[in-house]
């Protein structure tokens, strides 16, 4: 018990003397507003001193017309008064003199007839009420005066009046309210009504520190109680994942490549042995930039690429068509990061073995839905090593998948215009129990490496689809969530610890 008393806050202490009384009384006597009293009660409930009950109640109260009628009588009363004062046999006259609206008049006639206070015979009204009848309040009038009432605790007469009035226009309404009440627990009964004087200290203040002694006793806080949320600054979760991805590449000894999002078709397609009539080079799939024409790199490189396409080089037969410079000059938003690999190879000048990576945005002309967007992240690594082989490629991929957190890994043949052999790696998603095809890989074709590197050194290349890996890691089902920038969502999203 003592322990609980130590924890009582000033607010709770203020209402304990009145505990046991109904809530409105507590509000009245404690001089606190309703919100504070309810908060104090909530604290007491946390300490198991009381049990709060919230009951949804339907309360009948006056509506707009009801308020008006309560002040100025119901229309039927007005009509009745008029009829008892004057002898007005004609309906029309009665209506105009009563100053009631069409509807009010009609309703009033009906009500009075039903109560047998008037009679209507061939268009004339006859008062049939006695004086006694006239002085008596109707059930409806009594009901209006007694509002507000609880719907479920109506007397039979009130129920009748309620039914009658609810048929009429905006006289009464039903409000749903939550009524709080509470009951004392056994522990609560022990302190209810007591005046507890606490000499416990509240805040630690500079003056208190000055006079600090071990004897000072502080109020115990309810450390279980909820507190308002705060938000810190954070990186966008996609960039967090990119950082994580970068660390893997750096751990494996790769060097970061940088380069443009806007590229000439030469780097994005031609240097990668993608024929000029390949469907990917269609407006339909790729974003071409309007009204600009790019420049081609140095002539010898362009000539070699042209030859690789047209007739092939060093044992290759090529695509056998006539390669056009204008098509290569078209400027695009890059469709893959492989164009950066091509540029890197072209600038290596014999400095290998070497390993490079990039994580970056790519683009495709797409509508946006749950699994597609016009922007997506891709990561890609290349290994330039005269002794590299297919088994090394699989080795790197396996290592990469493991570092991404995927233990099970499998590969299958695949096709890309610029690699041969090509493969697709899938990782096992143990939660969904499915294979996710996320690793595209291969060894660059000689038609790619000869023009760019000058020799046929095997260049291993792989590019995991980064967004799909990320969707798994962040448990995202809809790709649009990645770039929605809903600040609330960004604030609440967990930081990945992996």
């Amino acid at each position: 018990m003592g322990n609980i008393i130590d924890k009582l806050s000033p607010l709770e202490l203020k209402i304990i003397p009145f505990l046991g009384e109904p809530i409105p009384k507590i509000i009245e006597k404690s001089n606190l507003d309703k919100v504070s009293v309810l908060r104090a009660l909530k604290f007491l409930e946390n300490k198991k001193l009381i049990k709060i009950e919230a009951k949804k109640e339907k309360i009948i109260d006056l509506d707009v017309n009801g308020i008006h009628y309560k002040k100025n009588h119901l229309p039927e009363r007005n009509l009745l008064l008029l009829l008892s004062e004057k002898n007005i046999p004609s309906l029309e006259e009665a209506k105009s003199l009563s100053k009631l609206s069409d509807n009010e008049f009609k309703v009033s006639l009906g009500v009075l007839k039903k109560k047998a206070l008037i009679e209507i015979k061939s268009g004339k009204i006859f008062l049939s009420a006695s004086k006694q009848d006239l002085s008596k309040k109707t059930l409806e009038e009594k009901f209006l005066e007694s509002l507000p009432l609880l719907l479920e605790s109506l007397e039979p007469e009130q129920k009748f009046a309620y039914q009658e009035l609810s048929k009429r226009k905006q006289i009464i309404e039903i409000e749903e309210k939550i009524q709080y009440s509470y009951q004392l627990t056994t522990e609560g009964k022990k302190i209810a009504g007591k005046k507890i004087k606490s000499n416990l200290l509240e805040e630690v203040t500079p003056s208190l520190i000055k006079n600090a002694t071990k004897k000072q006793k502080f109020r115990h806080y309810d450390i279980q109680a909820g507190v308002p949320k705060i938000f810190a600054g954070k990186r966008h979760f996609v960039n967090q994942s990119i950082q994580q991805g970068k660390r893997i590449w750096l751990d494996l000894g790769f060097q970061e490549m940088t380069g443009n999002l806007v590229q000439t078709s030469f780097w994005n397609f031609d240097a990668l042995f993608t024929a000029q009539d390949h469907p990917v080079r269609d407006l339909h799939d790729t974003f071409f930039i309007k009204k600009v024409q790019g420049k081609l790199p140095d002539k010898t490189l362009v000539e070699k690429v042209k030859k690789a396409h047209e007739t092939g080089i060093q044992g290759s037969r090529g695509w056998r068509y006539s390669w056009l410079q204008d098509s290569a000059k078209k400027v695009v938003l890059r469709t893959h990061t492989t164009c950066l690999s091509a540029q890197t190879l072209a600038s290596l000048k014999g400095n290998y073995p070497a390993k490079f990576f990039v994580i970056g945005k790519n683009f495709r002309n797409e509508t946006v839905d749950w699994s597609h967007g016009f922007e997506f992240n891709q990561t890609e690594g290349i290994v330039i090593d005269p002794n590299a082989n297919f088994r090394h490629l699989i080795g790197y991929l396996k290592e990469f998948a493991e570092k991404m957190g995927y233990k099970k890994f499998r590969i299958q043949p695949a096709y890309f215009p610029y690699t041969e052999p090509s493969l697709e790696g899938a990782v096992w998603n143990p939660e969904k129990k499915t294979w996710m095809e996320v690793l595209a890989a291969g060894i660059f074709r000689p038609e790619v490496t000869i023009p760019l590197l000058g020799t046929t050194i095997p260049v291993l290349a792989w590019g995991p689809g980064f967004d799909r890996l990320m969707m798994g890691a962040h448990k995202i089902k809809d790709l649009r969530e990645l770039y929605r920038n809903d600040i609330k969502d960004l604030r609440n999203r967990k930081v990945l610890a992996k």
């Binding site: 996609v238 806007v262 600009v292 002309n365 809903d486």
Partner: protein
């Protein structure tokens, strides 16, 4: 990417589908997409159009499984009397080549006909590049009188009843009114003569790549013999496509007959002579990291339908994908089984290195998250109305965007304001930043477009002082200094907007957004923004 559906029942007549076979299908290079009671769906890569037909797939896959391995041979008959196609010079500008064949003694039923039409359509879409590169016509031979002529005429001289039409139409009417004509009209646009095939009676058989004639253009269950033509711009592709079709028909028990093609020089198609590629065992082993012997190659290559006699590999004439030794090596790897390669990490020493720009950007992000700022990540494209609102000069458009986002973003201010306006229901205060690439026209660049890294800070509700505090803190943490100079910016309050100068160069602005701008964006709180180009900062650090 082409997905093909085969009836499971037909496949299982040859190969019962077990769990092991399911895996083998994918390991053969035709990923298994779906398997149901009735259907088997696989993906066929664009380099293997020969696997599009069920007959083609079974031929290759049975060989891969070791049943009837090796180079498959088909009986092919020499050209008979009148089996000739004359190619007139007039087709040269519009559609210069054709490769043709005759296949006899087919026994067709509705299912077979459907398979043939399916194959034709899939080939049109893939190797045919939607009929541009290859258009295929298959005709009942009994309605045709040989020999055939391939020539081009003026549109006004071409008149015939096309398929799906009740009456005769001129070439122009077909292109303007016929549904198929309208669909492919662009392929004949800008030519003054259109290609046609005619028979010995000068009857028009078809107008490639658009449509066949009603009279001769459709095979039925009664058809026994067919004439096949492929037309286009590249004789070799046409020839390979023809080979795929005739060998598929041969698998349906047809007999292949050659035809003489009378160009200036005579050619004969179909030509099923195997393609020869020489390989070196040493290259194979080096690239795959294996230790194979000559006899291993013989076995492995036979599984993929090749015949090996060192140093030459003889490949089927319907394979269109073998350009280089490397393509043969991939087949060897597939035959060896991708699952059988032992992964290995080579012992080469390289040093990991993050780019300088990445390091600086991370540092900036760290400073700003320390200021309780939330990073955002927005699209690189913006909407035209956004560009208009901020009075953007010379927007750079992408062609035919399928969304509202059509312009390369010139700054990060526009997207940041968009994000603020989309978040009026999120809790305030909101402090966001973004590090990203922005674009501007610059003729000195290879692409005519200059890309730079930029940084935006947006604070709401906030005043100028708070924004300047953030700017001060950022620069002092980077160990740099800046100067402000009063300026005016579209959308910002004059007198509360400044240019940020770094080493006397203009690198950005700081400013309080004008209430008119805020109102247009549906924002209800004051907002201050800072945008800085990072190019000069990179140089200084």
């Amino acid at each position: 990417m082409t997905n093909i559906i085969f009836p499971r029942k037909e496949i299982e007549k040859e190969i019962p589908i077990t769990k092991d076979i399911e895996e083998k299908i994918s390991l053969f290079g035709t990923p298994l997409e779906r398997l149901t009671q009735d259907e088997l769906e696989i993906e066929v890569f664009p380099n293997r159009p020969d696997l599009i037909s069920m007959q083609g797939f079974l031929r290759a896959f049975k060989s891969f499984l070791g049943k009837s391995s090796g180079l498959k041979k088909y009986n092919i008959k020499k050209p008979g009397k009148n089996c000739k196609v004359t190619i007139d010079k007039s087709v040269k500008p519009v559609r210069p080549y054709t490769a043709c064949a005759i296949v006899k003694n087919l026994s067709l039923n509705n299912e077979r006909i459907k398979e043939i039409i399916d194959l034709q359509e899939k080939l049109h879409l893939t190797v045919g590049r939607n009929r541009k590169k290859v258009a295929i016509g298959i005709y009942p031979l009994e309605k045709i009188k040989l020999p055939i002529t391939y020539k081009a005429l003026k549109p006004s001289e071409i008149k015939f009843q096309p398929l799906e039409s009740q009456r005769e139409m001129t070439a122009l009417q077909i292109l303007q009114r016929h549904p198929t004509g309208r669909k492919y009209a662009k392929l004949l646009k800008n030519y003054d003569k259109y290609p046609i095939f005619t028979d010995a009676n000068s009857k028009i058989l078809s107008m490639p790549p658009i449509i066949n004639s009603h009279e001769t253009g459709r095979i039925t269950e009664k058809t026994k013999d067919v004439f096949i033509e492929c037309s286009g711009h590249d004789f070799e592709i046409l020839s390979k496509t023809l080979n795929i079709i005739v060998t598929t028909l041969a698998e349906m028990s047809g007999e292949i007959y050659q035809m003489i093609l009378d160009y200036q020089k005579k050619k004969i198609t179909p030509d099923l002579e195997p393609q020869k590629t020489s390989i070196k065992l040493e290259n194979v082993n080096k690239l795959l990291g294996l230790n194979l012997k000559q006899q291993d190659l013989t076995k492995l290559l036979a599984k993929m339908g090749h015949y090996y006699k060192a140093p030459n590999v003889f490949s089927p004439a319907w394979r269109a994908d073998i350009l280089h030794e490397i393509d043969i090596i991939e087949d060897i790897a597939i035959a060896y089984g991708y699952q059988n390669f032992q992964p290995e990490i080579p012992q080469i020493s390289t040093i990991g290195q993050e780019s300088k720009e990445s390091i600086i950007k991370n540092k900036i992000a760290e400073i700003l998250t320390g200021l309780k700022m939330q990073e955002i990540s927005t699209f690189h494209l913006i909407k035209p109305q956004e560009a208009k609102l901020m009075k953007m000069q010379k927007p750079i458009y992408v062609e035919d965007s399928k969304t509202d986002y059509k312009i390369l973003r010139p700054n990060l201010t526009i997207p940041a304001l968009r994000i603020l306006s989309e978040n009026i229901d999120s809790e305030y205060p909101q402090k966001v930043f973004e590090l990203g690439i922005v674009f501007r026209a610059d003729e000195s660049q290879e692409t005519g477009i200059k890309e730079t890294d930029s940084l935006i800070l947006a604070l709401t509700p906030a005043n100028f002082t708070e924004a300047k505090q953030h700017l001060d803190y950022l620069f002092s943490q980077l160990g740099l200094e800046y100067k402000l100079q009063e300026t005016e910016e579209t959308g910002f309050i004059p007198g509360r907007t400044g240019s940020i100068l770094f080493k006397d160069k203009l690198i950005g602005y700081i400013g309080e957004a004008h209430p008119v701008t805020l109102k247009k964006l549906g924002l209800k709180m004051p907002a201050v923004l800072i945008e800085i180009s990072l190019e000069e900062i990179y140089k200084a650090i």
